[in-house]
């Protein structure tokens, strides 16, 4: 929990009004972002993202499973988020469950598209091994290690980085299985397939404090927010998902204004993330 005095509240709000925030940033600048990939050796792909004092880890694990009867040509992806009490004593016991569920649901909406899998950032048909019989199930786990606001953007970025780090083993399906029989598979230990992650969107959250909105709010700033809009945008500038939090209502014209600002900011964020991810992977190869 953030406990702020009246003076501190005025200071934060006044700073945002004058376009210079408590840490010297402008309203539309992010804190420094650092990316580290391959942090969890037992996962197929993983990444750790630090945005200021916020730190999250995302891991991707692939398991062979059976595709859904309704979508026999698609694999399955599930996103789970956990808020560790290490980050905030409030998350102790079941205290973090509400926030964890909220974050998982928003991420699921933003990254995976609708139920049919249309509009997903990941091409679900690339996860199929044998149509109607075998597919890859991707389990994406996010863990919040340190929380200083803007968890959603950080988790979105971490998942994007973890997916680009993911290698799925190549699978050989033995021919000759008839009808309903499950065919035998041979999982390669050496050959790995990389995902096409260019379509994975980033999430930009705009937090409204007073009359203005800011990006990448710290937890102090988040405690002063009236509402926040999270927009997930892919490289082409298409909006993949949208969610609004907070109690205060927003004027529709303000929302469309926020979306266009978010689109503009997402371009910078995607470029920044891409260069950080490739730098992290280059660093990992050297080790």
């Amino acid at each position: 929990m953030v406990g702020l005095s009246l003076g501190e509240k005025h200071f934060i709000q006044g700073g945002i009004d004058q376009n210079i925030r408590s840490d010297g940033r402008k309203r539309d600048t992010y804190r420094p972002i650092s990316v580290e990939t391959g942090v969890i050796p037992q996962a197929n792909g993983s990444a750790r993202i630090r945005i200021g004092a916020t730190e999250v880890i995302a891991s991707v694990k692939a398991e062979l499973g059976r595709p859904d009867a309704l979508q026999p040509d698609q694999g399955k992806v599930a996103i789970f988020v956990d808020c560790s009490p290490v980050a905030e004593p409030m998350f102790e016991g079941r205290g973090g469950e509400e926030l964890s569920t909220e974050l998982s649901v928003v991420l699921q909406h933003c990254l995976l598209g609708g139920k049919s899998g249309a509009g997903a950032g990941i091409d679900l048909s690339s996860l199929i091994v044998a149509e109607g019989k075998i597919c890859w199930d991707l389990y994406i786990d996010g863990l919040v290690i340190s929380s200083d606001g803007n968890l959603l953007d950080a988790l979105g970025a971490a998942i994007k980085a973890a997916l680009s780090n993911t290698g799925i083993p190549r699978v050989q399906v033995a021919a000759g299985a008839l009808g309903d029989e499950q065919p035998e598979v041979d999982i390669s230990d050496e050959e790995f397939l990389q995902f096409d992650t260019s379509g994975v969107p980033v999430i930009v959250t705009l937090t409204k404090v007073g009359r203005h909105y800011i990006v990448d709010a710290t937890s102090e700033e988040e405690s002063q927010m009236s509402s926040a809009v999270s927009v997930s945008i892919n490289r082409k500038g298409h909006i993949c998902g949208l969610s609004k939090r907070g109690s205060a209502g927003l004027d529709p014209s303000v929302i469309s204004d926020m979306i266009s600002v978010a689109r503009h900011i997402s371009e910078q964020l995607i470029n920044k993330l891409d260069s950080e991810i490739s730098a992290a992977e280059a660093g990992e190869d050297e080790m």
């Binding site: 037992q42 996962a43 993983s46 891991s59 009490p85 004593p89 079941r94 786990d141 863990l143 340190s146």
Partner: protein, 241 residues
């Protein structure tokens, strides 16, 4: 199964009395009062300490000493096969209790009456010896938070497989079903604060194995002391002294 080959090497290439590589880092969680990452080989845990602070639940307040609380949690991706476990299962409750009791034994709780100290440990990678790694991480985090302690508690495990005492078991050795002795000591006072064993072991061999684990604890204590000293030097340097 052969856990020690004829050349005297274990599955991961260690000698029977060799510990895994240790790595520790102080200050991993910016907002906590004290925090640390501790790695023993592939086992990796984060500990964060909040407090001493006001007691959150008044009915738990103790008038002549501090209330120490601990929560242990495992990340979904920490084990080899992914499992989604409910929070507060029996295993994690038991480990939370063990860590709490061990840390309570070394914190000078009587100096901080009517206050609360929270210790949270999060396992990021589990490869055997999570209990020990959590205690070591918690010690570092408590020291980083500046909480008065009698001594630095450290913990290490030892086992007995193929008639050989083995120090610091990894997951494969741990699940072999042999005895597993986890020891926690206060190295300066030379006192044992934690002792757990499963399976059975003849009493004379048990003494050897426990001695080995205690030696391991002392080695860890030396390492932790070095890390803390280095950290203090860094802090001093930053203050420009």
């Amino acid at each position: 199964m052969e856990f020690v080959n004829p050349e005297g090497l274990r599955l991961d290439g260690r000698r029977p009395m060799e510990m895994r590589q240790l790595r520790a880092e102080i200050g991993a969680v910016a907002k906590a009062d004290g925090s640390a990452v501790f790695e023993m080989g592939n086992t990796k845990v984060i500990a964060a300490v909040y407090g001493p602070r006001e007691v959150q639940n008044r009915s738990q307040q103790i008038n002549d000493q501090a209330l120490v609380r601990c929560e242990y949690s495992m990340a979904n991706f920490s084990t080899g096969d992914r499992r989604r476990k409910p929070k507060g299962d029996r295993r994690s409750t038991e480990i939370s209790l063990v860590i709490r009791q061990t840390m309570e034994a070394c914190i000078l709780t009587h100096l901080m009456p009517r206050s609360q100290i929270d210790i949270y440990v999060q396992v990021l990678q589990a490869d055997g010896g999570t209990r020990s790694a959590c205690i070591n991480a918690a010690t570092l985090a408590l020291a980083d938070a500046g909480i008065p302690m009698r001594d630095l508690v450290t913990s290490c495990s030892a086992g007995y497989l193929n008639s050989t005492p083995l120090l610091d078991l990894n997951y494969v050795e741990d699940s072999a079903g042999g005895p597993d002795v986890t020891v926690g000591i206060l190295p300066k006072l030379d006192k044992v604060t934690l002792l757990q064993m499963d399976a059975k072991l003849p009493i004379d061999i048990f003494e050897n194995v426990m001695q080995l684990a205690a030696e391991g604890c002392k080695a860890i204590a030396n390492y932790i002391r070095e890390v803390l000293l280095e950290n203090t030097k860094q802090l001093e340097y930053r203050r420009g002294l």
